[in-house]
Amino acid sequence: LPSLITPLPHFLHTGATRVLMFQRTSTGSRVVVASRTYADFTPQATFDIKKCDLHKLEEGPPLQAVLTREEGLQYYRTMQVMRRMELKADQLYKQKIIRGFCHLYDGQEACAVGIESGINRTDHLITAYRAHGYTLTRGGTVREIMAELTGRRGGIAKGKGGSMHMYAKHFYGGNGIVGAQVPLGAGVALACKYQGKNELCVCLYGDGAANQGQIFETYNMAALWKLPCIFICENNKYGMGTSVERAAASTDYYKRGDFIPGLRVDGMDILCVREATKFAAEHCRSGKGPILMELQTYRYHGHSMSDPGISYRTREEIQEVRSKSDPISLLKDRMISNNMASVEELKEIDVEVRKEIEDAAQFATTDPEPPLEDLCNHIFSNEPPMEVRGTNPWAKLKSIS
């Protein structure tokens, strides 16, 4: 039952369509809060974006990106949802309503949203455990993501998976074992090539995982077999508490693929990420094989909720990134200074987003836990019901597919 409102009606690029902002009051009736003619806003603008460092590539992504007002608002909204969702998870974790592992993504929103805007919904994506953002961009709702974190039956994995094991169509999680998702992603890419559907797989890992042997095995096979795989290293400068300088003999992660062409991208600028992703996708789809992108990004939280995140980095550093490179602020400033949106409009979106998150958190805290009958289900696919041994010989539990 949505208490959310679609913020903007879809409009055409002609005439002076009146853009009306609505807000639900407590009585449920809609009241016009602000109104501004469409003609007041710039429909689209071109922005200069940072040049990417290139490895074994003659040319890189374009140095300019076109952003439409519609796109900008959509990116803004999605990133804001992601941000607030993660902050709400932080809150719920501290209240002990979420338990176990919880790796938050705030600060890195431009990566997830930028990548999704550069690929098709029919493409595939796999990532590691810092996965809430990608679950969202790949089609999960905030409600089912949060309910999975709180371990309820309405969770995206019915409460069976938790923070690190969320799945959606063409999204293979959420993977807990560092680096294991990389060969998996190449396997998805192999399936794409095998099935001839012109789809590709985006395969993400962090700066910490980048030193895993299985990743180099995967680079080799992906290049050998020309798999349509975009390897993306989200370099947020720290693998848990170990800075990149202390973990890697070479911190040029975009070059670590050796024979695989690579580019280093400003991961805090959503347009940069989008253009680089489009460039990489084009490379894959043209049959040239895999490509590697390093996204330079930053996480505001520690590695997980059990890490305050200040023993290995200074508060000043975190504050500096927040004030100078926050991905949401960067987009917001761009849109406002180019008259692509108004401050009030964005504030409206913020209010809606807050409401959406509150609603989802409410659901996540009140939805019942999975029934005990579900304990042994989903062991095997497409299998007749079977018996599973419980904790003692007399406990014979039922399992269905």
């Binding site: 294991a180 060969p183 095998y194 995967t218 096979m221 050998l224």
Partner: protein, 357 residues
């Protein structure tokens, strides 16, 4: 007596074929386990274009043990893929391909090398359907030779039946005969879940009668069902893989002394067919499990624990015991190696001890 058993393979092959001939009235051909596995893969590759094989030397070399002979010539690069020596990498790739809709057969040259990739088998394959609450099935087969071979020493001789069978989310098969090999591998490939098929290198060259029925393209053996290879009344011998043959040989010798052994071929280690074992014990009142792997926490240990916990316990006239490999890394010298795995005389000895003969 020992020298009689060392070159037992010829004798048992003959004995076995005579033995099996008694139970088949239709026509039959001699097929080696290797060829049965090859047929299984060939038929399933033909039947479903999502099926493909990957592993080291499976394509152009025809397979390290020639199990995939002729397949690359017939199906080409797309379906039969030679991989670099990157177990963790290619096992993960295989699992990812399974997640995205294909039906890979991932060959480990031997299961000893699967240890490098075991994380992908357990954490990426076995657990995923559960963790995703049914959203993400993983229809994959991991196959290859398992257990002791001949003269390959400690790092190449380990049996992984207990390790893989420990984990929920996996099915673990251990064929003995050509019929087992064909039927079980076909079932494994058609199964929508991760299945580990533990073959045996020493059995690859052994020929068995394959009935008309078993030669058909749709012949499958249900997973989770053991087979009584030889009925008997005095003692139940439960085994898997090569040891099934040893049990049959021991049974043949014991029959001359009036002891009739019931020999059960497990075929599937996980899920274990406890019902068949229990029914047998209720008839014979004695249980001996026979395996090639190490004793501690092994297949036999699990069988004994289950029998203790179930209705068959009350039917035992003697403690259930295990005949296993010796609890040591596998040595190289032939005399040492021969004495590291159960021999037919060990089985005979254990039967007589159990029956107080």
């Amino acid at each position: 007596q020992t020298s009689l058993y060392i070159n037992i393979t010829y004798v048992t092959a003959l004995a076995r074929s005579k033995h099996i001939r008694q139970f088949h009235l239709t026509s039959h051909t001699q097929v080696t386990v290797r060829d049965a596995l090859n047929q299984a893969m060939d038929e399933e590759l033909e039947r479903d274009e999502r099926v493909f094989l990957l592993g080291e030397e499976v394509a152009q070399y025809d397979g390290a043990y020639k199990v995939s002979r002729g397949l690359w010539k017939k199906y080409g690069d797309k379906r039969i893929i030679d991989t670099p020596i990157s177990e963790m990498g290619f096992a993960g790739i295989a699992v990812g391909a399974a997640m995205a809709g294909l039906r890979p057969i991932c060959e480990f040259m031997t299961f000893n090398f699967s240890m490098q990739a075991i994380d992908q088998v357990i954490n990426s394959a076995a657990k995923t359907y559960y963790m995703s609450a049914g959203l993400q099935p993983v229809p994959i087969v991991f196959r290859g030779p398992n257990g002791a071979s001949a003269g390959v020493a400690a790092q190449h001789s380990q049996c992984f039946a207990a390790w893989y069978s420990h984990c929920p989310g996996l099915k673990v098969l251990s064929p003995w005969s050509a019929e087992d090999a064909k039927g079980l591998l076909k079932s494994a490939i058609r199964d929508d879940n991760p299945v580990v098929v533990l073959e045996n290198e020493l059995m690859y060259g052994v020929a068995f009668e394959l009935s008309d029925e078993a030669q058909s393209k749709d012949f499958v053996i249900p997973i989770g069902k053991a087979k009584i290879e030889r009925p008997g009344n005095h003692v139940t011998l439960v085994a898997h893989s090569r040891m099934v043959g040893f049990c049959l040989d021991a049974a043949a010798v014991l029959a001359k002394e009036g002891v009739e052994c019931e020999v059960i071929n497990l075929r599937t280690i996980r899920p274990l067919d406890t019902d068949t074992i229990e029914a047998s014990i209720m008839k014979t009142n004695h249980l001996i499990s026979v395996e090639g792997g190490w004793p501690q926490f092994g297949v036999g240990a699990e069988i004994c624990a289950r029998i203790m916990e179930g209705p068959a316990f009350n039917y035992l006239d003697a403690p259930a015991i295990r005949v296993t490999g010796v609890d040591i890394p596998m040595p190289y010298a032939k005399i040492l190696e021969d004495n590291s795995v159960p021999q037919i005389k060990d089985i005979i000895f254990s039967v007589k001890k159990t029956l107080n003969m």
